[in-house]
Amino acid sequence: MIMGTSAYRSDRSDRTYTSHMSHPSQKSHPSHPSHKSHNTMASRLLRLLFAVLVCSSVTAAQQKSSCIECHLKLEDTRLSAPAKNFDNDIHKSRGLSCNDCHGGDPTADTKEGAKDPRKGFLGKPKTLDIPAYCGKCHSDANLMKRFNPSLRVDQEREYYTSVHGKLLKEKGETRVATCISCHSVHGIRAPSDPLSSVYPANVAETCAKCHASADYMKPFGIPSDQYTKYKTSVHANAIYVKQDLSAPTCNDCHGNHGAAPPGIASVANVCGQCHARQAELFQTSPHKKAFDDRQLGECITCHSNHAILRPNDNMIGTQQGALCINCHSNGDKGFAAAGIMRTRIDELIAGIDKSSGILNQAERKGMEVSKPKFELKGATDALTHARVLIHSSSTAEVDKVVGPGLEVAEKGYQAGLASLGEWKFRREGLAVSLIFILFLAFLVYLKLRQIERRQVT
C-alpha cells in the first residue's frame, strides 16, 4: 500500500498505467499491448488503492472530511478557496471528495495523518502532470460509465494532439492550457451549466483569458486579436444577442481538447459542418482548383475567419468593394459571371420589394392579403437559395432559382394590384350604395309625411 507522490510520478508518464488502475472489477485486457508489462505486484497494489478510493467515494463524501474542515479555516485564500469552491463542483455532486484525486486520509484528525504518503497522499499535481492526473479517471471507459455512460473518454489522448498538448508534452511548456485552465479547478461544473467556464456562451471568454493577452501570446508568436474580432462576428451575435447556443464559438472550429488552428486544406470542412450546402457547391465550383493551386483558405478568403460578418450582396459583383474584383478583372470569365449573378440577385430583390410594398399598402388599407404575402415567401426563399448558389460560381445555377423567384414576386405584385383595385371598387360601391340607401330612406320619409298629413286632414 505504499504509494508516495514520487512513486506516482515515476510511473505517471506511462499512459497505460493510469488507464488501468481504476476499478478492481476491471479485468486485464489481453489485447492491450502494454498490459503484461504492468502486471506486477506494485501495479496491483496501486490499482487496488485507486479502486478503493473511487468505490468508497459516495460514502466518503458523506463522511467526515478533515481536508475540507481544515482548509476552510485557513487564512491563506489560496488554500481555503479549493475547499470553498468544491461545494459547487460536479465531482462533489457525484459523491467524490478531495482524497479521490489527491489521496490521503480524510478521516484523520491531524494534518500529518491526513497527508500521510503511506495513505496515498499525492498533493498538488505539477502542470505537466495535470492531463494524466485528470485522465486517471476520465480516460477510463469502465470507470466513467458508472458516472456518465455517454461521456467521452478520449479527452486526454485528444489533448496531446492539440497545440497545447504538444507544447506541454514535447517542449515541457507549462504556460499552455491544461484541463484546469479551461474547466477551472475545485469548482468544476458540467459544460451544460450556464455558470461553467466551458458553457457555450462562456467559451470565448475562457479562451480569451490567455489568447486575448498580447503579452501572454508574445512568446508564442501568435496574434491576440481573435477574441476582439470574434465578438464582432455574426456567430458571436447569434450566441450573445440571439442566445442561440448552437452558433459556433472557439471550440466548434478549433476543437476543444484537441484545439489547433484548422489548416488551409481543412478549413472548408470546418465551416462545412454547419454550412454544408455552401461547402458542397464550392467543391464543384471552378474556384476549388484555383484556391487549391494558390493555397488560399477556401471560406476564409472571402469571409475571413474570426471576424466573420453577416454576408451581404455587396460582397459579390464587379462594383467597388465587391470581393470578386480582388482576383477577377474586367474581361475574364469570372468577372462577367460575378456581374451577372449580382444583377440577377438585384432583380429578384427589386421584385420582392415591389410586391411586398404593394401588398403592405393594401394591408394598411384593411385588405386581407395574408395569402399572397405568405406566397411571396417563395420568392424570399428563392433569394436565399440564390445567395447560397453563388458558391457554385455558376450563373446558370443562380438563374434556375432566380427565374421562378421572379415569377412568384410578380404574382404577389399582381395580387397587390388586384387588392388595391378591389379597395377602390369597395369605396366607389359604398358611395353608390349610400346614395341609394339615403334616397330610399328619404322616399320612406316622404311617404310617412304624406300619410301623416292625410291623417291630420
Partner: protein
C-alpha cells in the same frame, strides 16, 4: 285582372283582415322619451341581419381547427362579396350588443318593468345573456390567434367559479384545453342551440310587448299623445333600419373586420390580449381586483359579484314593483347610473390599458 280574389283566398285561410284590424288599432305613446322605443326594434333588425348574413357565411364556413381560418380567409378573399357579408356580420353583432345595452338601460330608467311587464323584462334579460353567448361563441369561429387566447382566458375565468367552475370549463372547452373540440362545440352553440333559444325568447318578448303595449313613464301617464303603430311607427322604424344598413355598409367597406393570424395552440399568448369590448369592463375589474379580499381569492370574489349582479338584474321587477315608493325609485336610479358609469369608464380604461 284583379288581386281581390287572391286576397280573399288568403284572408279566408290566414285571417289577414283580423290582423289588419289589430294593426290599425295598435298605437304607440308619444312623449319626450318615445325615442327609446326604437332601440328594441333596431336590436331586432340587427338580429335579423345576423341571421341572414350568418346563413350566407354558413355556405362556406368549415367548423374545424384545420379549416376554420382558411375557410374564413376564402370567404373574404375569394367569394364574391364574401368580405362584405363577413364584415357586416361582425359589425352588426357589435352594433346589436350596443343597441341591446341602450334598450336595457332605457327600459330600466323608464321603469318599463313595472307590473304587468315582469315577464317581458325577464325574457329580455335572458335574451341579453343569449346575445352575449352569441358574441362569445362567434368570436372563436374564425380560429385566429386573438380569438383563441381570448377564449382561453374567458373560459378560464368561468373555471374559477367554486364547485361548478371546473365542470363548466370542461363543458365549454370540450376538454381541458381550447382545441378543435372547443371550436366545433362553439359552432354548435352559435348556429343551433343559441338561435333556437333566441327564437323562443324573442317570440315571447315581442308577443308580450304586443300584449301589454308600450309602457308609458309615470310622469306622462295622463299627458301623452298617440301615434299609430302601423304605418307611422313602423315607417319610422323602417327609416332607422335603412340607415342602419347604410352604417353597416360604410363600416364594412371602410373598416373591414380583420382576420388576423391563424391560431397556434403552441404559440405563447400575444401581449396585451383583450376580450371583445362588451366584456372589457369585467375583464378590467378582474385585472385590478386585489389577489386577496378579506382572506378570499379576489378573482373568485369578483366573478361571484358579477354573477350576483346578473341575478339581481333578473330580480329587478320583483324588488322594485311599487310605482309610489319614491325612496326605492331613487336608490334604483342611483344604482343604474353608477352601473352605467362603471361600465363606460371601465370599458374605456380596459380599451386604453396595455
Amino acid at each position: 285582372m284583379t288581386i281581390e280574389p287572391l286576397k280573399d283566398w288568403l284572408d279566408e285561410r290566414l285571417s289577414i283582415s283580423t290582423l289588419q284590424a289589430m294593426a290599425a288599432k295598435k298605437e304607440v305613446p308619444l312623449h319626450r322619451h318615445s325615442i327609446w322605443y326604437y332601440f328594441g326594434g333596431m336590436t331586432l333588425f340587427l338580429f335579423a341581419v345576423q341571421v341572414a348574413t350568418g346563413i350566407l357565411l354558413l355556405l362556406y364556413y368549415r367548423p374545424s381547427s384545420e379549416n376554420a381560418f382558411e375557410s374564413v380567409q376564402f370567404i373574404i378573399t375569394e367569394v364574391k362579396f364574401g368580405w362584405l357579408i363577413r364584415s357586416i356580420h361582425s359589425w352588426s353583432a357589435n352594433l346589436m350588443i350596443a343597441t341591446l345595452f341602450i334598450h336595457l338601460f332605457s327600459v330600466f330608467f323608464l321603469r318599463a318593468y313595472y307590473p304587468p311587464r315582469e315577464i317581458t323584462w325577464l325574457s329580455g334579460a335572458v335574451l341579453l345573456f343569449i346575445i352575449i353567448c352569441f358574441g362569445f361563441s362567434g368570436y372563436l369561429l374564425p380560429w385566429n390567434k386573438l380569438a383563441f387566447f381570448a377564449t382561453k382566458v374567458g373560459t378560464e375565468i368561468a373555471g374559477v367559479v367554486p364547485i361548478v367552475g371546473r365542470p363548466v370549463l370542461r363543458f365549454l372547452r370540450g376538454g381541458d384545453d381550447v382545441t378543435g373540440a372547443t371550436l366545433t362545440r362553439f359552432f354548435g352553440f352559435h348556429v343551433a342551440v343559441l338561435p333556437a333559444m333566441a327564437t323562443v325568447f324573442i317570440g315571447i318578448h315581442v308577443l308580450l310587448v304586443q300584449l301589454h303595449g308600450m309602457h308609458v313613464p309615470r310622469k306622462y301617464e295622463h299627458n301623452y299623445q298617440r301615434m299609430k303603430f302601423f304605418p307611422n311607427f313602423i315607417l319610422r322604424d323602417l327609416i332607422g333600419w335603412i340607415l342602419a344598413i347604410g352604417v353597416l355598409a360604410a363600416l364594412a367597406a371602410l373598416f373591414p373586420w380583420e382576420l388576423g393570424e391563424k391560431a397556434d395552440p403552441f404559440a405563447p399568448a400575444p401581449a396585451g390580449i383583450k376580450p371583445e369590448w362588451y366584456f372589457l369592463f369585467m375583464f378590467q375589474t378582474l385585472k385590478w381586483i386585489p389577489a386577496k379580499i378579506l382572506g378570499m381569492d379576489g378573482e373568485v370574489l369578483g366573478i361571484m359579484t358579477f354573477n350576483a349582479i346578473a341575478l339581481l338584474l333578473f330580480l329587478v321587477p320583483f324588488i322594485d314593483r311599487d310605482p309610489e315608493n319614491r325612496r326605492r325609485h331613487l336608490i334604483f336610479n342611483v344604482c343604474g347610473v353608477v352601473a352605467l358609469l362603471y361600465i363606460v369608464v371601465m370599458t374605456i380604461v380596459g380599451y386604453v390599458a396595455k
